[in-house]
C-alpha cells in the first residue's frame, strides 16, 4: 500500500486515496482530507463523520447512506448538501474508512 503525506500526516492509502488503516485517522487529518476535496467542515459535517466512525467501530463496515439516515438520523438530502454529488464516497474518504460496499 502506498503512503502519502497530507499536511504533515503520514498515512497509508489505497489507489483511490482512501485510508487503509482506520486507526491512522484523527480529527485534524479529517480537516486536511476534507480540504483535499474542497470541503470545509462545519458542525453538521462533523455530526455525520462521527456517526460514521462510531458505526464503523461497532459494525466493522462503512454505513450506507440509508443507514446514516435511518440509524444516524441525518437525512439523505442533507448529506447531498454537505458532501455534494457522491456523499457516501466523500464521507468515507473524510472519515478515513473504506468505501461502503452496499453495492454488490
Amino acid at each position: 500500500m502506498p503512503t502519502t503525506t497530507i499536511d504533515g500526516h503520514e498515512i497509508h492509502v489505497n489507489e483511490e486515496g482512501f485510508l487503509t488503516d482506520p486507526t491512522e485517522w484523527s480529527e485534524p487529518l479529517a480537516k486536511s482530507l476534507a480540504a483535499q476535496i474542497g470541503i470545509e467542515l462545519t458542525d453538521e459535517h462533523w455530526q455525520a463523520i462521527r456517526f460514521l466512525r462510531e458505526d464503523f467501530a461497532k459494525e466493522g463496515e462503512t454505513p450506507t447512506l440509508r443507514r446514516i439516515s435511518v440509524v444516524g438520523g441525518i437525512p439523505t438530502k442533507t448529506l447531498f448538501q454537505l458532501f455534494p454529488q457522491k456523499p457516501a464516497k466523500k464521507l468515507a474518504y473524510v472519515a478515513g474508512l473504506p468505501k461502503p460496499h452496499g453495492c454488490v
Partner: protein, 420 residues
C-alpha cells in the same frame, strides 16, 4: 421430535427443506414450511415477459408440488418471530414452535418507499418488472409505445438480481430495433452507482455494451421523488431526468415481520455470519437466500450455492459440532444482452467477475464476460433445471465454490477514478 421451521417457500426455502428432508430422520425431525400463498414464481423469467417471450403459465408453479413428501406447508402470513421463545406467530393467531428456524423470505420491491412512485401513473407510465403484474403491464404498454424517452432506473442498492436492470435495458433496445422504432426512442439508464455495474472489470465491459447500443447512462443518481405530472425523476441533489416510459426498480427491502421481530437491519435484512449464514444474534436461526445481509448478489445462484454449504453445516450444528463448511459468496449470473445472446458472470466475496470459461475451465461451453449465443441457450435451459433438478434438491454438477481456473486476472489494478 424436533422441528425445523422454514419461513418462505421460494428458491432458497424450497431447496433447503427438500435437501434436509432427505438427510434428517423423519422420526426425529418435523419440517414445516410457511408461505403466504401457494404460488412459486420462476423469477428469472420476469425479464422476458415485457417482450412477449415468457408467459404467466411458464412462470408459476404451485409451491406444494415442489416440496418433498414429509414436509408440511402452512399457508399464512407471518406476524412475528419470538426468537427467545423459539416461536413464530402467524397472522390470525396460530403459533408455531421450532427448534431451528430458517428465514428465507427474500426481498421485495417497495414502490411505496419513494414519493410519487405509486399513484395514478403506476403501471400506466411507470412500471416495475420484478413482479409478474408489473412485467405484464409493461408488456402491454410497450405495444403502444412508439417514440419518446424510455428510462430504466434503479432506486437504491442492494437489489435482487443486480444485473436484471441491464438485461431489461438491452432487451428493450433490441426489441425497439427489431420493430424499427430505435431511431424514435431515446434509451437512458439511470443508476445510483458510478457506472453500469458494481465491480470494475464487469462494469467496464457492460458499460461498453451500453455505449455500443447508444444507451445514455446517468450515473450517481439517487432518486428523491418522482414527479408524475411532469414525468420527471428528481434526485436528492436536484437533478432531473425526464421520461415518457419509466421502468423502475423500486427500493428492495426484507420482509416487514423481520423488522417487527427486531431481527433486521435498516433494510430488514437479517445480519448473519457470511460464511455460515447463522444469525449473529441467535444460534437457532439461519438465513438463506436474499433475506440476509451477506455482501454478495441477491440471486438464485447464490441461494443454490449457499444451500449446498448450509445442509452439511446444519447437520453438524444440530449435533453440537462446529460447522466445517464455509460459504464464499459464489454468484453466477446470466446477463441477457438482446438478439438471442447473453453474457455470463461468475464471482464471489473476494473475486470480481473476470473473463474466462464456465463451468469447465478453458472448455466452457459458456464464456464469461462475453456475449454469446451459447450463454443465452444456457439461460433458457436453466428454467428446466430450476424446476426439475434444483428445486427437488437433486444434485447439480456445478461446484459450490467459485474457481479461479481458466480465468484471466486483470494485469494491473484498475484506477477508474481519482476523485473521492
Amino acid at each position: 421430535m424436533r422441528t425445523l421451521l422454514v419461513l418462505g417457500g421460494g428458491t432458497a426455502g424450497t431447496m433447503a427443506a427438500n435437501r434436509l428432508r432427505h438427510r434428517l430422520d423423519a422420526h426425529e425431525w418435523r419440517i414445516v414450511v410457511v408461505d403466504q400463498d401457494d404460488e412459486h414464481h420462476y423469477q428469472p423469467a420476469y425479464i422476458f415477459v415485457p417482450f412477449g417471450e415468457a408467459t404467466r403459465d411458464q412462470v408459476i408453479r404451485s409451491r406444494h408440488r415442489f416440496l418433498a413428501d414429509g414436509i408440511e406447508l402452512v399457508l399464512a402470513e407471518i406476524d412475528r418471530v419470538d426468537a427467545e421463545a423459539k416461536q413464530v406467530a402467524l397472522v390470525g393467531g396460530r403459533e408455531l414452535a421450532y427448534d431451528y428456524l430458517v428465514i428465507a423470505t427474500g426481498t421485495t420491491p417497495r414502490p411505496d418507499q419513494t414519493p410519487g412512485m405509486l399513484g395514478p401513473e403506476w403501471h400506466r407510465s411507470i412500471f416495475d418488472f420484478y413482479t409478474l403484474e408489473g412485467a405484464e403491464a409493461l408488456a402491454d404498454a410497450l405495444t403502444r409505445f412508439d417514440h419518446g424517452r424510455l428510462v430504466v432506473h434503479i432506486t437504491e442498492m442492494p437489489i435482487k438480481c443486480p444485473v436484471a436492470p441491464l438485461e431489461v435495458t438491452f432487451l428493450a433496445e433490441a426489441w425497439l430495433r427489431k420493430r424499427g422504432l430505435r431511431d424514435r426512442v431515446e434509451v437512458v439508464f439511470v443508476t445510483p452507482l458510478d457506472g453500469a455495474f458494481t465491480k470494475p472489470v464487469a462494469s467496464e465491459r457492460l458499460g461498453a455494451m451500453l455505449d455500443e447500443r447508444k444507451i445514455h447512462v446517468e450515473p450517481d443518481f439517487m432518486v428523491e421523488r418522482i414527479d408524475q405530472d411532469r414525468h420527471m425523476l428528481v434526485s436528492f441533489d436536484e437533478r432531473e431526468v425526464p421520461y415518457d416510459l419509466l421502468i423502475t426498480v423500486p427500493l428492495n427491502m426484507g420482509a416487514d415481520y423481520v423488522a417487527r421481530s427486531g431481527l433486521g437491519n435498516e433494510l430488514n435484512y437479517v445480519p448473519v455470519d457470511k460464511h455460515t449464514l447463522l444469525s449473529t444474534a441467535y444460534d437457532t436461526i439461519f438465513v438463506l437466500g436474499d433475506a440476509s445481509d451477506i455482501p454478495t448478489s441477491k440471486a438464485g445462484s447464490v441461494a443454490h450455492f449457499a444451500v449446498d454449504v448450509f445442509v452439511d453445516n446444519f447437520l453438524e450444528h444440530v449435533e453440537g459440532k462446529p460447522m466445517t463448511g464455509s460459504f464464499d459468496g459464489h454468484a453466477n449470473c446470466f446477463v441477457e444482452s438482446g438478439d438471442d445472446k447473453a453474457v455470463l458472470i461468475d464471482f464471489n466475496y473476494d473475486t470480481e467477475p473476470l473473463p474466462g470459461k464456465y463451468p469447465l475451465p478453458y472448455v466452457g461451453p459458456m464464456s464469461l464476460l462475453k456475449e454469446t449465443r451459447t450463454n443465452h441457450l444456457g439461460k433458457l435451459a436453466f428454467r428446466h433445471i430450476y424446476w426439475n433438478v434444483l428445486m427437488p434438491g437433486r444434485p447439480v454438477p456445478l461446484p459450490s465454490h467459485m474457481s479461479m481456473m481458466g480465468k484471466q486476472e486483470p494485469s494491473a489494478p484498475d484506477q477508474p477514478e481519482k476523485e473521492a
